[in-house]
């Protein structure tokens, strides 16, 4: 008898707890939905408030630090110009929007993104795997890392062919670090360490060095000025530039990725690179 009573009490308690939980859940949902700061649609999976806000204002707010030509700088009229500026405008146009360039210091860019002051960062921003929890990164659109550069017509096709050759590097630079690493790993090279990137390219042009280890931005700028130098093999120290958006901006992230792919396929990226770096030499 007492066991039956105890079972009845347990059942009653379980039902009461379930009902109380339901009441609390419904109450919490009502409070959330009643808050003017919360758009109920934002609670739906796949909803992207950043993308919707861009559509309603007709503007993509793009943060950049205009101090890094040819990617972004200010012209004589104080207007932002450069590869990233054009890229942002071309992408916005694809979406029927205008790109509003918001200039700020480099170290403030991701903070501004988190604070919803901008929608994306397009500013020669290196990919940071540690930040993927907070930000949505696009596929790389420019590889700025260390490349093995050789004169046009050189027989050196990659680092495996470097044994017995001289390699120019800027003293102390990342290229120098890669060169020292290759030596530690028993690649038989002689490093020609010079003070500036310009002297690295001079060493290559004058035959003082057979190859060079240099970042791809400097290399592409030199190519644009007519240097008969090409990059061979993959980047030896990768530094890919990406576009960053808020992590929750799934639709915007998809649009950026799709548009970059389309721009790769239809030649827009090559056109932008040629505009801001000049044409690469024929291999």
């Amino acid at each position: 008898m007492s066991q039956e009573r105890s079972q009845r009490e347990w059942k009653w308690l379980a039902r009461a707890a379930w009902a109380l939980g339901l009441l609390i859940g419904v109450g919490a949902l009502a409070v959330i939905l009643a808050s003017p700061a919360v758009n109920p649609l934002s609670l739906l999976p796949g909803h992207d408030g950043t993308w919707e806000a861009m559509q309603s204002r007709g503007v993509w707010r793009v943060g950049m630090d205009p101090s890094f030509p040819p990617f972004e700088s200010l012209n004589e009229e104080g207007q932002p110009v450069g590869y990233d500026v054009d890229l942002a405008r071309r992408m916005a146009a694809e979406w029927g929007l205008e790109a509003e360039i918001v200039a700020m210091g480099y170290d403030s860019l991701l903070d501004a993104l988190q604070a919803d002051r901008i929608d994306s960062v397009v500013s020669a921003l290196p990919y940071d795997p540690r930040e993927t929890k907070d930000f949505r990164f696009s596929p790389p659109y420019f590889e700025a890392g260390i490349r093995l550069a050789v004169p046009v017509g050189s027989l050196i096709g990659d680092v495996d062919a470097l044994d017995g050759h001289t390699v120019a590097v800027e003293w102390g630079s990342m290229g120098d670090m890669v060169g020292r690493r290759l030596k530690r790993e028993d690649t038989a090279i002689e490093l020609v360490q010079v003070p500036t990137p310009e002297e690295v390219l001079d060493a290559l042009a004058t035959g003082k060095a057979d190859a060079a280890l240099i970042d791809n931005v400097t290399l592409r700028q030199a190519q644009g000025r007519g240097a008969q130098v090409i990059a061979v093999g993959p980047a030896l120290e990768s530094n890919p530039y990406v576009i960053a958006s808020p992590h929750k901006a799934s639709k915007l992230g998809d649009q950026i990725a799709e548009t970059l792919t389309r721009f790769q396929e239809n030649g827009v990226m090559a056109e932008l690179e040629e505009t801001w770096f000049g044409p690469p030499p024929a291999p």
């Binding site: 630090d65 101090s67 480099y106 540690r130 930040e131 670090m177 020292r180 970042d215």
Partner: protein, 369 residues
């Protein structure tokens, strides 16, 4: 199953859990890492140092490797941060495990450790304040932490720095910057440290080089701040002055000027010490250096960074008898900061030496460039 069988099975399960915990715990914490044999630093310049950043380095093997590499570079001094909040997260709790690792490995590598103390635990500050906020009500709590620290590490840590860059609002917990209040902190903490360990040298200052104009909400000019410290009676409450001497875009031979931030600004701070009767005291540069970020406006070329760094070590050794050591910011970070800060380091996060490491090492060995 009988009661006896149940009991046996339960005891066996408990034993297995205990064995599992014994195996798992050392693996989880990365322990133990042997200290290894006693080492000593070989260098032509005994004033060379670096600021390590082991605060967030959780793996003992990496703490050891960092300090080995400092020794192998030829720098006998390190400055390291020991956050109060990490060691005393609650008033009645102490966690010395990480600090013990750093101190013991540094000692075994033959390094002289300068401990920077700060970072206020939540229980010692009002809610909503930053960990750099320390009000007068808790000066004694901080003093007790400092006294415990020097007692625990007596004979192993002979130098402690009280606070960091108190002339910046950020570093003063966004309170109004107030040299007199910092001096009151020294007046509370200094006697407590000296009572606990009379031979420990207490460093004050560690002021941020800044040209902040009068009335700035961000900070106070470091030269003005130091004079204000003396005016508030600081002289009897510190043994050495800690100096921050960043070079910016200038060579270390650029002359000092009151309206310029450069390496030799340290000489202006020294002059203020002398003018206030403290010429008998030594100083120590606990942060300095040049940066070679490709796009930071206050950076130099990588080769210049190497030249300037070595030249700064030479100046400390040859020209500044009042200086005991110079620690360059920063030897290594546990992970990439993905900002200009990465371009202050000497080795990568994975311990690959940067060219500056190898060039400084060559200098310390007396090899000609």
């Amino acid at each position: 199953m009988s009661n006896h069988s149940w009991r046996t099975a339960a005891l066996a399960a408990l034993a297995l859990i205990l064995i599992g915990l014994l195996i798992w715990r050392p693996w989880r914490s990365g322990r133990p890492v042997s200290l290894g044999p006693q080492q000593q630093v070989e260098t032509i310049n005994p004033k060379m140092g670096v600021h390590t950043r082991l605060t967030d380095e959780v793996e003992p093997a990496k703490i050891k490797r960092t300090l080995e590499m400092v020794r192998e570079m030829g720098a006998p001094w390190i400055v390291e941060y020991f956050p109060w909040a990490y060691i005393q997260p609650r008033p009645d709790t102490r966690n010395w495990v990480h600090a013990d690792d750093v101190v013991n490995h540094a000692n075994r590598q033959g390094l002289t450790l300068v401990a920077r103390l700060g970072f206020v635990p939540e229980w010692a500050r009002p809610k909503g304040t930053t960990p750099l906020y320390l009000d007068e009500e808790h000066f004694e709590d901080f003093g007790r932490y400092a006294a415990e620290f020097v007692t625990r590490y007596a004979g192993k840590v002979d130098y402690v720095i009280i606070g960091n860059e108190p002339n910046l609002a950020l570093e003063w917990g966004y309170q109004p910057v107030d040299p007199a209040q910092y001096v009151r902190l020294l007046q509370v903490v200094y006697p407590m440290i000296k009572e606990a360990s009379p031979d420990v040298q207490v460093l004050a200052g560690a002021l941020a080089p800044t040209l902040a104009p009068p009335g700035s909400e961000w900070g106070v000019n470091d030269l003005d701040y130091l004079q204000a410290m003396y005016d508030a009676g600081a002289a009897d409450y510190f043994d050495m002055l800690a100096i921050h001497a960043y070079g910016g875009v200038f060579s270390p031979d650029e002359p000092a000027a009151t309206d310029e931030i450069n390496f030799r600004r340290a000489e202006l701070l020294r002059q203020i010490m002398v003018e206030n009767g403290d010429e008998h005291k030594q100083a120590m540069i606990t942060e300095a250096g040049w940066n070679d970020h490709p796009r930071w406006t206050r950076a130099v070329r990588p080769g210049q960074r190497i030249e300037y760094t070595i030249r700064a070590y030479e100046i400390a050794q040859d020209e500044w008898p009042w200086l005991d050591a110079i620690a360059m910011w920063v030897f290594r970070f546990p992970w990439d900061q993905k900002s200009y800060q990465d371009y202050f380091t000497f080795v990568d996060t994975d311990f690959e030496p940067k060219p500056i490491y190898e060039e400084v090492q060559r200098y310390a060995r007396g090899e000609t460039p």
